[in-house]
């Protein structure tokens, strides 16, 4: 098979579990199935994908039949250890339906602080991506609390994008088909309303990536900095 245009484009997908849930915070399996289909399809089309997903705490609380979301750090950490099992199990189930193999990668926020850890983590991601596997990343909440403290997994997605030198950060915006595409080095992000538009725009962006510009540019440091 011919390789097209060199390196495959890399997309880091940031998911907040609320965008896959109903109003009562229960996981909506249909929405997870839909997401697995879209991402498996993007992978089949020749893109490399990494999924950064929250949801361990929420699913843990559901599993433990807690009446409300846990509030203290320690309750959240315990719920996360229970819920990560549920989270990865659910993702596996739906990705399996599309013959897509996934892997679980749990990172701590200091991964980005040490060069040897960055290199090591990058090697793992590179190997998984070369094998057409979609890594599913979350914070290792049992030993780390950075995400819990921020209550936001964009910083984790950002770190992963930096580690793998992603071309695009893809953000699921709501429980419907609304996504935000954040191309590396672009000031403005692109909002899309449905999955067909999503594929079109991703292809547009990938064809127009300016490699020179990429080398000196980066991604928005926080979710609030993104304009669209």
């Amino acid at each position: 098979m011919m390789k097209q245009g060199g390196k495959k484009k890399r997309i880091v997908v940031r998911i907040e579990i609320a965008t896959l849930s109903d109003d009562d915070e229960k996981l909506n399996k249909k929405k997870m199935d839909q997401l697995a289909m879209i991402l498996s399809n993007l992978q089949n089309s020749g893109k490399q994908l990494i999924l950064v997903s929250s949801g361990a705490i929420a699913l843990g609380a559901e599993k433990l039949k807690l009446n409300q979301q846990p509030s203290s750090f320690i309750d959240k950490q315990a719920a996360a250890a229970v819920g990560q099992v549920e989270l990865i199990k659910n993702y596996k189930r739906y990705f399996d339906e599309y013959n897509q193999i996934v892997a679980q990668v749990l990172l701590t926020s200091d991964t980005i602080d040490s060069n040897i850890r960055i290199k090591n983590t990058r090697n793992t991601f590179d190997t998984l991506l070369d094998m057409n596997i979609i890594p599913i990343v979350n914070e290792n909440d049992a030993v780390s609390t950075a995400d819990i403290e921020l209550n936001d997994n964009y910083p984790l997605a950002l770190n992963v994008a930096k580690i793998v030198n992603a071309d695009i950060i893809l953000i699921k915006l709501d429980a419907n088909g609304k996504f935000l595409l954040v191309p590396k080095g672009e000031k403005k992000a692109v909002a899309v309303d449905d999955e067909y538009e999503l594929f079109e725009k991703i292809n547009d962006i990938c064809q127009n990536i300016n490699q020179e510009k990429l080398a000196e540019s980066d991604y928005p440091e926080s979710i609030n900095e993104i304009e669209y």
């Binding site: 950490q77 892997a103 990668v105 991964t111 793992t124 998984l128 290792n140």
Partner: protein, 271 residues
């Protein structure tokens, strides 16, 4: 003093199972064994004993998922297989524990829990919390991000540090042989199992390096080293054959099975 009788009163145990016990020689998982192990540990938990499971097997399961028949050589490949396999492995454990109405949690650790204070207290607090909620934590090394500087290297060592971290009173290491032998049972017919070890002597350590299993990372010497780490923290260790996990019931019932290595303080009491 009957040291075996004492095992009836253990309140917090760490059970460690290795790849060679969990899988067939082909590297594929033995589901019946996992099912039995989940049953046994759930039963013990229902008796009010706190249980932590330290499991290997992610790399083998990952290789199986991809249909690989040879063991990976390169570190990055191993780490990638561990990331695939851990997702499979925890799903399978969850399934079998769920059948016993037992909730489990996944905790992936690196050696940071020994060297960094904040990691140490975070891991300890999380595990304490989980145990107080009657959950069985399932622990493995976070192979995906472990580099040489932060690696436990083998789960025997990891299980000992976990036992120390949660102040367990017993560490049970499930192996593919019946215990520590006086010589290599494969070559010497006079080799006998050592049922009790009062003190880990240099002579004993030498015996351990010459026996054990050739397939696993650990073998006997890492188990003895693990028992030494546990012993300093007043934790007894039993090394036993895990091919039938119901042996754990018998051990906790005081039966003379496997090798019991007494904790340092326990040994001092003898005087």
């Amino acid at each position: 003093m009957d040291y075996r009788e004492n095992l009836k009163y253990k309140k917090r145990i760490v059970v460690k199972i290795g790849t060679s016990t969990l899988s067939y020689p082909s590297g594929r998982l033995n589901f019946q064994l996992v099912e039995k192990l989940a049953f046994v540990l759930s039963e013990i938990r229902k008796k009010g004993i706190h249980v932590v499971l330290v499991t290997s097997g992610a790399i083998g399961v990952g290789a199986g998922r991809l249909g690989l028949t040879t063991k990976p050589g390169k570190l990055a490949k191993k780490q990638a297989l561990a990331a695939i396999g851990q997702a499979e492995l925890i799903k399978i454990y969850q399934k079998y524990f769920e059948e016993n109405n037992q909730i489990v949690a996944q905790v992936l650790l690196t050696k940071d829990i020994v060297t960094i204070n904040k990691r140490h207290s975070n891991a300890k607090n999380t595990l304490e919390k989980l145990l107080s909620m009657d959950i069985i934590p399932i622990i493995n090394e976070n192979d995906t991000i472990s580099t040489n500087e932060i690696v436990f290297g083998d789960n025997d060592t990891l299980s000992a540090y976990v036992a120390v971290l949660i102040k367990a009173d017993l560490l049970i290491m499930l192996s593919d042989i019946d215990g520590l032998y006086s010589a290599d049972p494969k070559t010497k017919s006079s080799a006998r199992i050592i049922y009790i070890v009062h003190k880990i002597t240099p002579r004993l350590e030498k015996i351990a390096t010459n026996t054990g299993t050739i397939f696993s990372t650990g073998g006997m010497s890492t188990k003895i080293a693990a028992a030494k780490i546990g012993g300093k923290a007043n934790i007894d260790t039993v090394i036993t054959n895990g091919s039938d996990p119901t042996i754990i019931f018998k051990i906790l019932n005081g039966e003379n099975l496997g090798t019991l290595i007494l904790a340092d303080a326990n040994n001092a009491n003898k005087n």
